[in-house]
């Protein structure tokens, strides 16, 4: 696409479409934190009287203003990033932007959270010492039933169904099915089975606990259906048009993301409505366990998984070694994101090669990709026209296609430069298929000629 003298690559446009809504998404979530739910506003437990307090209202209003400014700024910074033409550079810039987009909105959040916490101390609104914990002793709160695993069986069966019609992408369908199974596992075992305690009202605790558990189940069930439908989209559309399949997957992913956001916001709304009158007498205050209102640290809690204080999500206990490792690994992964572009650049700019030795034909890219012994080759073909290739597991970039692909001959291991023909197609005595091509046309032709001679011997 060309806008005046600027050029926007398709990949850049796709990346832009995938991430541009993130600041707005985060602004919606963080703005919602200012509403009182379970006596909490911006991660600080406050009594009923604080809701009308002028200073509290001023802090919340100031946060909303700063959040809006941060969101607009981060979104505006993204606009010039669209015009970077080089794929690897664009990816690096986008990933750096993504990191900023995730961190910057939390700067006003943390500063205002601290102000609110300080005000709470000054007003004497703190309820309990940092070493105490309040728990509900009524058995009724803990008797909420889990959804039957059978409910997850339907999307599981559906996600496996495409294998019957399309064997070439069986691996992808199996991964989708494994994800459906993971959804059930996550629903059942990645949830901290804890009462949603606000005060000594058992009925309220039971209602809040039930709502949270139900929403948690809905999120994972939606995720399971998402994976099942994704398998069908892949099966139906990739044969027809890669672009249409990509667009449909992106659009469907957006529907899923906004669907889960809806569940989160609906849960928060219910928490807000049900606890609108709370905080007048006794109320549970666990602020001391939450660093900046976001990170849970409680050495007296021996569980790793912790429910977030509002909404549906879960987090980890940073007082546990496993929690620290998990959070550390997440942080390292996030910080490594910009290097994805550098790696992509290297991958895309490394030429694909074919080498012929006395024993084998070797396909190279960043290293030795495939090595086929000459005595195992049973069939060979010179491919002069570009065949239709469908990726099942591997890399598909501007200058390289490698990995497992569907080909006109069946599923094959390939390593070719999509811009340079010819290719060499091979079949071996163990039934395996290969498609190799060099980034230099002359090299492929030379290897093919030598291969004919060697195989004739």
């Amino acid at each position: 696409m060309t806008l005046g003298t600027f050029h926007i690559s398709t990949m850049n446009l796709i990346l832009w479409g995938c991430v541009i809504w993130l600041p707005a998404f985060m602004a919606v979530i963080l703005r919602n934190e200012t509403k009182f739910k379970k006596n909490l506003s911006m991660g600080v437990t406050l009594p009923q009287e604080a809701r009308e307090d002028e200073e509290v209202v001023a802090i919340l209003d100031s946060f909303k203003k700063q959040l809006t400014v941060a969101t607009v700024l981060v979104t505006l910074i993204a606009l010039p990033c669209m015009f970077i033409s080089k794929a690897g550079t664009a990816m690096t810039i986008w990933m750096i932007w993504l990191l900023f987009a995730m961190v910057i909105p939390y700067v006003p959040y943390v500063t205002h959270h601290k102000k609110l916490k300080q005000l709470k101390e000054e007003r004497g609104w703190k309820q309990a010492a940092s070493t105490t914990r309040v728990v509900e002793l009524s058995g009724a709160v803990y008797n909420i039933k889990w959804m039957s695993p059978v409910i997850f069986f339907v999307p599981l069966a559906l996600s496996l169904l495409p294998i019957l019609f399309d064997k070439t992408m069986a691996l992808i369908y199996l991964i989708d099915s494994a994800m459906v199974l993971f959804c059930w596992f996550a629903y059942r075992y990645l949830y901290r089975n804890k009462a949603e305690l606000v005060d000594d009202n058992i009925a309220l605790t039971e209602a809040l606990t039930r709502i949270r558990r139900q929403s948690w189940g809905q999120v994972w069930l939606a995720c399971a259906w998402f994976m099942a439908i994704l398998s069908f989209i892949m099966m139906l559309l990739t044969d027809w048009s890669d672009s249409l399949a990509l667009f449909t997957v992106l659009a469907f992913s957006a529907v899923f993301v906004f669907g889960t956001l809806y569940i989160e916001m609906r849960t928060r709304k219910l928490q807000e409505q049900l606890t609108a009158q709370c905080g007048t007498d006794f109320y549970v205050d666990e602020d001391d366990y939450w660093i900046w209102g976001q990170f849970y640290y409680n050495p007296n809690d021996n569980r790793l998984l912790i429910n977030n204080r509002t909404g549906v999500n879960t987090t980890v206990n940073l007082a546990k070694r496993s929690g620290q490792i998990f959070m550390g690994a997440t942080l390292v992964l996030l910080l490594c994101m910009p290097f994805l572009g550098v790696w992509m650049d290297k991958l895309d700019n490394t030429p694909v090669g074919i080498e012929l030795t006395s024993e084998a034909i070797i396909s190279t890219h960043t290293g030795v990709e495939y090595e086929v012994p000459l005595d195992s080759i049973t069939y060979m073909e010179y491919v002069a026209e570009k065949p239709k290739l469908k990726r099942t597991a591997g890399t598909g970039m501007e200058n390289v296609l490698k990995g497992r692909f569907g080909t006109p001959w069946g599923s094959a291991s390939i390593c070719v430069d999509p811009n340079t023909l010819p290719y060499i197609y091979l079949e071996t005595d163990d039934g395996k298929r290969y498609l190799f091509g060099d980034s230099d046309r002359a090299d492929t032709e030379a290897v093919y000629q030598q291969l004919i001679i060697k195989l004739q011997k």
Binding site: R133, V134, V135, L137, S138
Partner: protein
């Protein structure tokens, strides 16, 4: 009924659970026949070891405050009146009475104090 556990206290957590259940029964916050959470549920809720909760429940069971059943879990069952106070309770009472005497309280003062506390408990 809410349990308030103090992790900085010298009183072990299992004993805090036991004491608060006993107080809850005495104050009428826990009724006979009322279900308590299972050991697993309560340990998950408190973020403590299952053995700690199990120890508290065992103690409460031994003292006759609760009954445990594999199917229905722990149920409040207050039949202590039939068996009379525990030896441990009598020992503790004797010690506290000695402390009050050493603190200078007469028999009448002690009885008046006990009466006030007993009535507060019954409210």
């Amino acid at each position: 009924m809410l349990l308030h556990l103090d992790f900085a206290s010298d009183v072990p957590i299992y004993l805090q659970i036991r004491n608060q259940v006993v107080l809850g029964i005495a104050e009428g916050k826990l009724q006979t026949g009322e279900k308590l959470p299972t050991i697993r549920a309560l340990s998950e809720e408190c973020g403590i070891n299952m053995m700690t909760v199990s120890k508290a429940y065992q103690l409460l069971k031994q003292e006759g405050y609760i009954q445990t059943d594999r199917r229905s879990g722990a149920v409040v069952c207050h039949n202590i009146a039939q068996s009379g106070p525990q030896q441990e309770t009598l020992k503790a009472l004797k010690l506290h009475l000695s402390e009050l005497r050493l603190a200078g309280l007469s028999l009448d003062d002690t009885l008046a104090l006990c009466k006030t506390l007993y009535e507060e408990e019954a409210l």
